[in-house]
Symmetry: C2
Subunit: 309 residues, 2 copies
């Protein structure tokens, strides 16, 4: 199946990250399996972080093992350091998303070291990956968090983001993800940033990670599409609300993103009605977690037709 | 004050239209006054329809009289026919938004006649306006509802929308509003439609009216901005939910729209923090009505600066 745009489901990682109730491993795998069956081709299944930091991901290796059994699914995980990468490589993931922040203060708070130290660690991860022939097929995606602003520092310089992206590429990143971690981005800024990154970085694949915290998530997607981005993260039901803003949505809603893309003629390979059904799995497992989204409430437009395959 | 984009608040009309609890006239005027004080330059204050059809607007003349006392505010109203236009002219409004649907079935259901009859009525409204020297300053805006799809007919032909827009112009419309009444539009469609309308209609001012029913409201705004549209309707707190989809949002949220525009460097003349405060007036008057929106929950980004005046 040809896909014009890759939609990566990050709910099992970014969505669950701030949920204190531990989702059972079986429910996580049911969720991941159902999304894959609906046509989602890449899922960020968990995070390899110390269990004492995020108990939600204590079952990371088990979740990855289960997800790897699903045919044609790219299993990705988030990792913050070399130690996490090693565990992820050993678990057999297809892709790792390495996280560092464009904002020094945010990086310090999030992964307890400087951005420079985070980059050095990434270099060591590339070396580790390259040292083992079995691991060489694993894709390394460098993520730049708080790329559009930071709740601690406020404005983040575009130059700093571009420089980090360049350093990632110099260190051997296969892909880059540019993230509006705190929902500060606006479409004009997004278009400017991605246009510049595409011009300065050559052909490396860029992915957009947007949060809908301030309502502009899908407008930012549209701006990134305009700038040529063809890969986006999203979370079922917009899970992953902002811990500092009760009731605010987190990630952009996968269902609404797929609607935007398919209605606009861009093939995602995802069956929207089946995707909407997956919400029931999450609702059953985490009945207290609010799920957001428009298309699941209002239904598909009468006569809706997905993009032609 | 120079405005790059005109934001028209339609909450007191489109927002209240499906609210069964009648908002007191004094609260409506407090709301309108507070938004004008926050810098909103145009407000659709009510609808001139028979009170037995929409009791919410039985006080239309009184609301208009109150709104007209506010300096520098364009007071617009929605009207569905000649009779309504006559009442609106007599009330002294600055602008009328005349409503007809691109979908025949929707027009029949909404205003109980064919689209052709609606257009004929618009022609008579233009004649009536022109027949009275005092009324000649009143702006006549022709609105095309269900321009991006219809809950009864499904797909609506772009050609039909363009033809209606042309007929409006031939009949003497000063402005046009193109409306996604039921929240079916997607950004690709919006950009194509407005690009075509701007190319075929000459310089007539086009306004975009989007609903966020399926989550794409602000993405559609961004697409319309790309196509050169510089005037948008929106509703405080996204009031005006879809009667067929409980819990779904209605109009795009004025606060989030202003955030999108100002953050992107487009001047609206609106003070966002004062605008967010206006929600309290509506919450007090209609405590049971849900208000939506991201920026009001999550707050302005740290270091946020509005567009430079």
């Amino acid at each position: 199946m040809h896909r014009d745009v890759v939609v990566c489901e990050v709910g099992p990682r970014d969505g669950l990250q701030i949920v204190s109730h531990i989702m059972p491993t079986s429910a996580k795998l049911e969720w991941i399996g159902a999304e894959a069956a609906a046509g989602v081709s890449e899922i960020e299944a968990c995070s390899f972080v110390p269990p004492q930091v995020l108990p939600q991901f204590a079952d990371a290796a088990e979740v990855v093992a289960g997800a790897l059994k699903i045919p044609n699914l790219v299993v990705s995980v988030l990792i913050p350091n070399l130690k996490g990468a090693e565990r992820a490589f050993q678990a057999g993931v297809h892709k790792i998303n390495y996280v560092l922040s464009a904002s020094e203060s945010h990086n310090l708070k999030n992964v307890r070291r400087s951005t420079h130290e985070s980059l050095e660690d990434f270099r060591r991860i590339v070396e580790l990956r390259n040292s083992n022939t079995e691991w060489r097929r694993i894709q390394l995606c460098g993520s730049v968090s708080t790329a559009f602003g930071c709740t601690i520092e406020g404005k983040v310089a575009e130059d700093a983001v571009v420089r980090l992206a360049e350093q990632y590429v110099e260190h051997g990143a296969d892909k880059l993800s540019i993230a509006d971690t705190v929902g500060y981005a606006n479409p004009a800024q997004v278009k400017r940033m991605f246009t510049r990154l595409r011009a300065q970085l050559g052909g490396i694949e860029l992915s957009g990670h947007f949060h809908d915290t301030r309502g502009l998530g899908l407008a930012n997607v549209h701006a990134a599409l305009d700038a040529g981005v063809r890969s986006f993260d999203a979370s079922l039901g917009g899970m992953g609300g902002c811990p500092w803003a009760p009731g605010a949505t987190g990630n952009i809603v996968t269902e609404d993103l797929v609607f935007l893309l398919e209605a606009g003629g861009l093939r995602t390979g995802i069956d929207l009605e089946r995707l909407i059904e997956v919400r029931k799995i999450v609702e059953r497992a985490l009945p207290k977690e609010p799920l957001h989204g428009g298309i699941s409430k209002a239904g598909l437009p009468l006569g809706f037709q997905p993009a032609v395959s």
